[in-house]
Subunit: 345 residues, 2 copies
């Protein structure tokens, strides 16, 4: 067997799975941001026609999956796995969103890194010969996340200056075994997967997720470059998930201390999704749906158009709960990376 393991954390896929189709769904604020044209569906109604915000979040997952299936020309029965998760307690966004589809399901929890984790596990399932067609799916909703992690919306609490804005959005990618992709499939293909470690540098402020997650992003990206023996300039873009302005700057500085200039190619989905000058998003976007919707729209579109040819997508997650913060705990972070390309060396 060819060596797939490049190191402890990184795997090179032998038969890179192709992105067959993708879709994203967003809310009002996502539609007012600079990526408006990259959304498949935008809703002015934060309830998405449902009675509660939790049901709205499940509705977003359903819609993202349905749209991705439609664009792939597939039915739910054609998928053999779905890898999904979300931020809600007991991941009900996914379980209630996916309930009616009858697709074999592995539930994940990677906080806001879930889009990276789901893509990684789906890609390995295909490369390993266990699946032909998989979906990777996640979501977040501003109102469910605020109720969950902070205070119910009607309290009208003031946000801290370091706070980020949980995106109301969902994104879904459908991956297919390379040799089953239709001829002319524009990809991209997932070539590498790096599994993150839990990194906790002792940040205790749950309103400063960017600082809490930055060390994990640095750790995973460093492992990715080391184990693939590449450098940042080998990629057209390196996109973290939702570090926001502060966390993003911390990662840039960590690399600078190592003598590595990440340059303009280092970007963050949380900074791309909103216009921070016009929209009141403080440090930028966050939530599973932030990186999921930016990836399953802006990033994949640009890869397909040839504007990007090889990228690293590295969503980060903060593995806290309100209970852990009440009990005086710090905020552990994690970051899962995948490498996608439309060109093979």
């Amino acid at each position: 067997m060819r060596q797939k393991r490049l190191g402890r954390q990184t795997v090179a896929l032998e038969r890179p799975p192709a992105v067959l189709a993708f879709a994203n769904v967003g809310g009002k604020h996502e539609g007012e941001g600079p990526l408006r044209e990259y959304f498949d569906e935008l809703s002015q109604d934060s309830f998405f026609g449902e009675k509660t915000w939790e049901k709205a979040e499940s509705a977003m997952q359903k819609r993202a999956l349905r749209r991705a299936l439609g664009r792939a020309g597939l039915e739910a029965e054609d998928l053999d796995r779905v890898y999904a998760g979300d931020l809600l307690n007991q991941c009900i966004g996914s379980s209630f969103g996916l309930r009616e589809f009858g697709i074999p399901f592995y539930g994940l929890y990677g906080a806001c890194s879930t889009m990276g984790e789901s893509l990684a596990l789906a890609a390995m399932a295909i490369d390993g010969g266990f699946s032909d067609r998989c979906a990777a799916l996640t979501s977040s909703h501003f109102c469910t996340a605020e109720r969950q992690y902070r205070t119910p919306m009607p309290y009208g609490c003031q946000r801290a200056p370091t706070a980020q804005w949980t995106a109301t959005a969902a994104g879904c990618t459908i991956l297919v075994r390379g040799d089953l992709a239709p001829s002319g499939c524009p990809g991209p293909w997932i070539t590498h997967v790096t599994c993150g470690k839990i990194v906790d540098k002792g940040i205790r402020d749950p309103a400063n997720m960017g600082a809490a997650m930055a060390p994990a992003a640095y750790d995973t990206l460093r492992a990715f470059f080391r184990e693939t023996e590449t450098k940042p300039s080998d990629y057209d873009g390196i996109f973290t998930g939702d570090l926001g302005a502060l966390g993003h700057e911390i990662v840039r500085e960590f690399f600078a201390r190592d003598g590595v200039d990440l340059g303009d190619r280092f970007q963050d989905c949380g900074l791309l999704l909103y216009d921070r000058d016009r929209q009141d998003m403080h440090m930028g976007g966050s939530g599973c749906g932030c990186s999921a919707s930016v990836f399953n729209g802006y990033l994949l579109e640009r890869l397909r158009r040839g504007e990007l040819r090889r990228i690293v997508f590295a969503p980060t997650g903060a593995l806290l709960s309100p209970t852990s913060s009440f009990q005086g705990e710090s905020v552990p972070g994690i970051c899962h990376a995948v490498c996608l390309t439309t060109v093979f060396r």
Copy 2:
């Protein structure tokens, strides 16, 4: 490539990974039950020396992992992945339990099916060539689960007759690539994995998890037998996770309607863990830690002793949250199965 996919849900592993070592940890009640001698560690202190029950649950995961590593003669650095999850909001049992180990981590949420899901994903990671040595790990704690899903312990609420008792326990399995197992490794080996679908038959009573999960267990087990072209009598035991007395009886009846007598070989970890005549556990044990501790003790010991030669381990999960129940939702179930053997045909 040899066909690994036997059907939409079931995979036959080409190079079955071996169980290298395992360990479990339990609380007071688990030590008073019939499986007492199959525990590596039993604590009279529900806090496991920590200040809160949530921290106690993390401590159980740490201890189970440390003991399993010790029995395998490995250090944390020797593992290339850990697949883990638990029942707590945002899975903090796992993230805080695993934080100090520095092992690349994929977080899962399968409710009480998590031991099955983690074994399945770890086994496929090894068979697919992505990992050499993985840990699969999960836990539950009676006091954290009661606070989480029902009412805080000090309320002293009366339990419904259909209620089950969340086990205070954790279990950890270390899997290794078959050709890296030491000579004379007694196994067992994981040969098959069946991924469950979400099944929801409309049960709305969160105090009747057994009935809610039974249809999922039936669905996954039926898929397993159909896709492997085997029948229940081909196995020495079929062990569901925590259906309890009611759910277990429902699954038996579903199979009976199909003309299949599951017989005595059909058992449930929730019925094995406690003595329902002497211990006040109502329908039996539940929680991720229930099937995890029965598997990583009683079941694996009996396989190693030759008392069992081929089993199906099929933990079930109820994918609800208190919020979903408050919002009038039913309780979706899921079941993930793995097949283990010490003999190869």
